[in-house]
């Protein structure tokens, strides 16, 4: 598995889409700190890029890369190599490549211009997010054999996690505003890794103070060390679930 992952990573690091992502992240990362005098505002903008653009890029590219490597997968599996080793290699190679692009592109300017706890949280949750979305892309690609349908499905999932889920939460809060549902909302946010990352970062900044009554419960939870550990642990659980999901799927699916 390590050998396959190694050669796939070498291939990916030469891929135009990965290099393009690195350049795009770097342009946004350095550019925002260049035009924005307040580092905290730049951090919040970088957070939006991390939460919206990073999942979209990782989902689409991982999906396309898996489908475009079909004969290579078949070639490997015609040898006495376990299916799980092949899909694990794809997961590791894609995650490492995107982690390098994200950490160099956004992480480097973040650490240089705003070395703080919130920058560290953004960088860590960004990396965990991209592993989650690589896993989700592989889960879908191993489930759906048709490339167009697969890419369509990951776009729908991206829209769900990026917008629709929050819309449903807001609808819930609006409809049941008269009831004490803040704790329920807190629990529900753990169903969306983008929300976990967003709240973890915002609660470390002054923007958290503007979130009203529900924000007070969120600050109490995510602002504490215990809350931070729980949110990072839940992101890790998401990574493990997506990883195991794609491995189990690949082991039993028709290729």
């Amino acid at each position: 598995m390590i050998q396959i992952a190694r050669y796939l990573t070498i291939d990916l690091l030469k891929n135009k889409a990965i290099i393009g992502s690195l350049l795009l992240f770097a342009a946004i990362g350095w550019g925002l700190f260049f035009i924005e005098s307040q580092p905290e505002k730049a951090l919040l903008m970088l957070m939006q890029v991390t939460l919206l653009l990073l999942p979209l890029i990782t989902l689409i590219f991982s999906c396309v890369y898996y489908y475009n490597s079909y004969e290579f997968t078949v070639l490997l599996l015609s040898h006495p190599i376990k299916r799980s080793a092949v899909i694990q290699a794809f997961f590791i190679a894609l995650s490492i490549s995107f982690s390098i692009a994200y950490t160099l592109g956004i992480g480097l300017p973040l650490i240089i211009h705003n070395p703080s706890v919130e920058s560290f949280i953004l960088l860590t949750s960004g990396n965990l997010l991209l592993w989650i979305f690589v896993g989700l892309a592989l889960y879908v690609s191993t489930k759906v054999n048709d490339k167009v349908r697969g890419i369509g499905l990951v776009l729908i999932l991206w829209a769900f996690f990026a917008f629709i889920f929050d819309g449903l939460l807001m609808l819930l809060m609006y409809q049941f505003g008269a009831y004490p549902i803040e704790k329920l909302i807190l629990v529900l946010t753990f169903l969306n890794p983008i929300d976990i990352s967003r709240i973890s970062v915002i609660m470390q900044t002054d923007a958290g103070a503007m979130m009203g009554l529900s924000g007070a419960i969120f600050i109490e939870f995510f602002g504490s060390l215990k809350g931070m550990l729980i949110s990072f642990s839940s992101l890790l659980v998401w990574v493990i679930l997506m990883y195991l999901g794609s491995v189990l799927n690949f082991r039993k699916s028709d290729l």
Binding site: I4, E71, F72, V74, L75, S78, H79, P80, D254
Partner: protein
């Protein structure tokens, strides 16, 4: 060597293979032919464990396909290489597979040398022409001296000289007692190589005959004529 018993495969409601049974022996060169959608690729993928049969079992040298991957150590597969990691070089593909198959003692580099793979080893897979990819695929299939060779359209994109060289290599492998299964739409390429023809039609074995049987029943010498004559409706 390969025993296929009552294999059926459904994709949803569509039945692609309908209870196929075949016994493929050592020293045989079997042509698996049939029109598009007849189930040739599906059958090959089931033998390789890439598809799971809806019903039936396949055994390779007594080992049931799907239980373990070890049986694939005696199979060399030559796929049609179209979708590959585009920046990976030819040298890297060979290096990777040699590392993964480091247990294999006898490396057969005859096809590698025959197609001068060394001359293209620094090229990225995405930059290779169809013929070059075919040569890489062939060299990889023969490299680990497999006892069973499964060749999917082996001569499709090859130039005439390479085509003849590969046919000679296949003949030599069969003479050495190996089992070869070939799918091809170009029947003239199979002339003089195959010893048995399995014709699939709509997921069923339409006929399964040796070359001698086909010659006797059709009175033809060339394989494509034998097939055409065999497919003609029988008149009373």
């Amino acid at each position: 060597m390969i025993s296929i018993k009552n294999i059926s495969k459904n994709f949803g409601k569509h039945e692609v293979l309908k209870s196929i049974s075949l016994e493929l022996e050592k020293g045989e060169c079997v042509a698996l032919i049939g029109p598009n959608g007849s189930g040739k690729t599906t059958l090959i993928k089931i033998i390789l464990g890439l598809l799971y049969a809806t019903e039936g079992t396949v055994t390779v040298n007594g080992e049931i396909v799907g239980k373990d991957v070890a049986y694939r150590s005696i199979i060399g597969y030559m796929p049609q290489m179209s979708r590959l990691p585009e920046n990976m070089t030819v040298a890297q593909v060979f290096a990777l597979l040699k590392r993964l198959r480091s247990d294999v003692e006898t490396i057969d580099e005859s096809v590698y040398k025959m197609f001068d793979i060394d001359g293209m080893k620094s090229k990225a897979l995405g930059k290779l022409s169809g013929g070059m990819r075919q040569k890489v695929s062939a060299a990889l299939a023969f490299m680990f001296s497999p006892e069973i060779l499964i060749l999917d359209e082996p001569t499709a994109a090859l130039d005439p000289v390479s085509n003849e060289n590969l046919k000679d290599k296949i003949k030599q492998e069969v003479a050495d007692g190996k089992m070869v299964m070939i799918t091809s739409h170009n029947l003239s390429d199979l002339d003089g190589i195959v010893s048995r023809v399995v014709y699939l039609m709509e997921g069923e074995v339409y006929f399964d005959k040796t070359i001698e049987e086909l010659q006797a029943s059709t009175g033809e010498e060339r394989l494509n004529r034998m097939i055409v004559e065999s497919l003609k409706p029988q008149t009373a």
